[in-house]
Amino acid sequence: MKTVLVVDDAAFMRLSIKNMLQGTDYQVVAEAENGKEAIEKYLEHKPDIVTMDITMPVMTGIEAVRELVKKDPNAKVIMLSAMGQEQMVKDAILSGARSFIVKPFKQEILLKTFSQFI
């Protein structure tokens, strides 16, 4: 079982991802509503993979990636972006995110993206 931390300010998105991962080899061990929480949860759970929303209150996904990678260079963060956020995705990747997924996405894409890092 691989562990996943889901970071998104929308409870709906968190639930979506959780549902998609149900019955797969991945288990959502923690959820966070913003970047700050994400870092705390990451240090607590040390998940194998982090899915990270970009626009979030308190601390954006990009800042969170930066912090996370500083704390753990091996952190595997996958950005969840929406159409029209190219620049932000780029910033996130340059900050150390490993990959990105564009919303809306299907389970297949999510799992395939994960599999790159396991």
Binding site: M13, P57, K90, S99, P104
Partner: protein
């Protein structure tokens, strides 16, 4: 909807969250409109809200909502990045509010299980046009695309470049992505990024692959990678094959000699292994942080379905009854049971606490309902060209969830009326020496087991003569005019079909409504009072109970039957003396008390119950408050006062017969059923 989301809880979550976000957005827009300015935090927040809605909606495949949200998001992205100096604020607000309405309607459809099928294109086009328009008015358009960070070569080497003792292999790969996967440049970058973990050295073409301009090239031609790695061919191939949206891969091993050629060139800059970290975002993102922090204090809240709460409430109700059945069990009478009573007391204490807690769970602040009124006021006043300010007081007051649902519509109607009929046009107000802008105060406060909601406007007030004239015309007055109290006159407005406004407007004045308002309120045990001073304004007070589920009741007996009178209606109870009893010329029984006359209703006659007590002086009179007056109800005896759980009459009774004066039923401690009286229904029919 795709099968993936057939799961209802997902849908529920979507609806719940989106509704909330839309609500926040609406309030924010109204505030913005009022202040007529956008601060950065606000724009950021609107952007973020729209962004979230877009994300969730597109996941649920509600495309029209997603596209609409996207266009509004674009709009605010522009405003955020560009900070245009002049925006037609009113058009912007109109557009966004229209968008909000659209999404609301669609959400409602989704809630009711139908497909959100409306077409948002028209609205989206208008938003796009508006965006173009404000773009036109802003110089330096190019800055929308954020300034590029200065890029350097992207050659990667693993930290230990020193001496390779192990065997190294060289590979070449050309990777092409599927059509339409977008952001090819960034995708390519991540592929390279992943490969570097198992590579000694890596060269890619085109260089600077993350630059936006490279996307087109990669889309057409793919991109090339030269890899120097200790890993086996299989490992590398495997990793590349996992690439998302991989369309075509050319992969081959290359000879060491050839490879050395290729890898020589960049040797000088090979130490540029640092990945540059972009500078922190500009200040606006920080502003966002500050702005939103107070709103997002981590809270441990879960959402529970109301049905479950209703069930819980029901169960607690049953438990309260069961507790009474055990502790007041007739079998225990006259027994010395010290320990039992001790435990029973403990049980009672806990059930009471449980009941309180469950009640409090169901309590919701009025603020959501109140805040909606801003929108109502805005829409009407804008349409009618009036200036109206709505002030909310005490919106944190809590009432039962069920009640909240029932007062939204009546409130809306009253507020509409206040703006439409109450507040005068600006010029007229000025001639009367009032502020040009009208003011409506919406206030809530607790009063015992009731909540008062007060709607106060400073408009023209009710005109007694006009009301009477209209009342006569509609044949609603059956008393000499001089005898009519102000209150009776004002109450005319609650009659069905009564309307003094000559011109029916879009918002109010069709004469339907006020009576509906009253009906809605009465359905939840509330009442309404009007007070008015001409040219000073009108005050409408709604009195609504905190909760419907549990009431304090006075249990009474008539013959074999038990009744419960809601304590809030009971004024006093007493045994009359002969001198007080009188009868009016029609032979109706009355009682004279402290100089006032009250009608007497014999409950045994009213419900045709057999009883031996037919003389008021042998029974007990309970004086109850009815809407307009007070009356006395004759019962055999009082059984005591206790909180009772209100249960609706079973449908088979409701459907067969409409029993006047019965509001529901409850179970008493001994297991018998008691009918709860609706005192307003107790009067002799015409």
């Amino acid at each position: 909807m795709s099968e993936m989301f057939s799961n209802t809880s997902m849908l529920e979550m979507y609806i719940f969250e989106t509704t909330q976000l839309i609500g926040q957005l609406e309030n924010m827009m109204l505030e913005v409109e009022k202040k007529n300015s956008y601060d950065e935090g606000c724009v950021n927040e609107i952007f973020r809200l729209m962004h979230t809605i877009k994300g969730s909606s597109s996941m649920m495949l509600f495309n029209s909502i997603a596209h609409l949200a996207h266009s509004i998001e674009d709009l605010f992205y522009f405003i955020r990045e560009q900070k245009p100096l002049t925006i037609d604020n009113s058009t912007l607000c109109d557009l966004v509010l229209e968008g909000i309405d659209f999404i609301k309607v669609e959400l409602e459809k989704i809630k009711n299980g139908s497909e959100p099928d409306a077409d948002a294109d028209y609205l989206i086009n208008r938003i796009k046009e508006f965006l173009l328009f404000i773009k036109g008015g802003t110089p330096n358009l190019k800055e929308i695309i954020r300034p590029e960070k200065n890029k350097k070569q992207q050659y990667y080497i693993a930290p230990d470049v020193k001496q390779e003792t192990e065997e190294v292999n060289y590979f070449f790969a050309n990777i092409k992505f599927q059509k339409g996967c977008e952001m090819e440049n960034i995708r390519a970058y991540t592929v390279i990024n992943n490969l570097k973990d198992i590579s000694e050295e890596l060269i890619n073409f085109p260089e600077d692959i993350i630059e936006d301009e490279k996307a087109e090239y990669i889309r057409e031609n793919g991109f090339d990678i030269y890899i120097k790695s200790k890993s086996s061919k299989e490992d590398i191939l495997d990793l590349i094959n996992k690439t998302i949206f991989l369309e075509n891969l050319t992969f081959k091993e290359i000879e060491e000699k050839e490879a050395k050629e290729i890898f020589r060139k960049p040797e000088k800059i090979i130490l540029e292994k640092e990945i540059k970290i972009p500078k922190l975002e500009s200040t606006d993102e920080k502003a966002e942080e500050k702005q939103s922090t107070p709103n997002h204090v981590a809270q441990n809240v879960i959402s529970v379905s109301v049905t479950k709460l209703d069930q819980l409430m029901d169960l607690v109700g049953e438990m309260v009854i069961a507790e009474a059945m055990v502790t007041q069990n007739p079998d225990l009478k006259d027994l010395e049971l010290e320990n039992f009573h001790k435990s029973a007391r403990q049980l009672r204490k806990i059930t009471n606490e449980l009941q309180d807690i469950v009640m409090s769970i169901r309590m919701v602040p009025l603020s959501t309902t109140f805040l909606k009124m801003h929108r109502i006021v805005r829409d009407i006043s804008k349409k009618q060209g009036k200036e109206v300010e709505l002030q909310l007081i005490g919106e944190e007051t809590e009432v039962d969830k069920n009640i909240i649902e029932h007062i939204g519509d009546p409130l809306m109607h009253l507020i509409r009326n206040a703006v439409d009929h109450g507040i005068e046009d600006g010029d007229i107000r000025e001639t009367k020496g009032k502020n040009k802008a009208g003011k409506i105060i919406l206030e809530a406060k607790n009063a015992g087991s009731d909540v008062l909601i007060i709607i106060k406007d400073d408009g023209k007030g009710l005109n007694r003569d006009k009301l009477i004239e209209k009342g006569l015309e509609k044949n609603l007055i059956n008393k000499p005019i001089e005898e009519l109290t102000d209150k009776e006159v004002y109450n005319l407005i609650f009659h069905p079909g009564f309307s003094t406004k000559e011109n029916v407007t879009e918002f109010s004045g069709r004469g339907v409504g006020m009576d509906v308002v009253v009906k809605n309120l009465e359905a939840i045990g509330g009442s309404i009072h009007v007070d008015s001073i001409e040219d000073k304004g009108t005050t409408i007070t709604l009195k609504i109970p905190l909760t419907l589920a549990i009431i304090d009741g006075m249990n009474v007996r008539v013959g074999e039957a038990r009744y419960t009178i809601p304590l809030m209606n009971v004024r006093e109870s007493f045994r009359p003396v002969k001198e007080q009893l009188i009868s009016d010329p029609d032979g109706n029984e009355m009682i004279m008390l402290r100089g006032n006359c009250y009608p007497i209703y014999r409950l045994h006659e009213f419900y045709d119950v057999k009883t031996n007590i037919k003389n008021p002086m042998e029974g007990i009179l309970v004086m109850v408050d009815q809407t307009e007056k007070s009356s006395c109800i004759l019962v055999d005896e009082l059984l005591g006062q206790q909180p009772v759980v209100v249960k609706a009459l079973p449908n088979f009774i409701k459907n067969t017969k409409n029993i006047k004066g019965i509001g529901g039923c409850t179970l008493l401690g001994d297991g018998s059923i008691s009918l709860i009286l609706d005192v307003n229904g107790i009067e002799y029919g015409e």
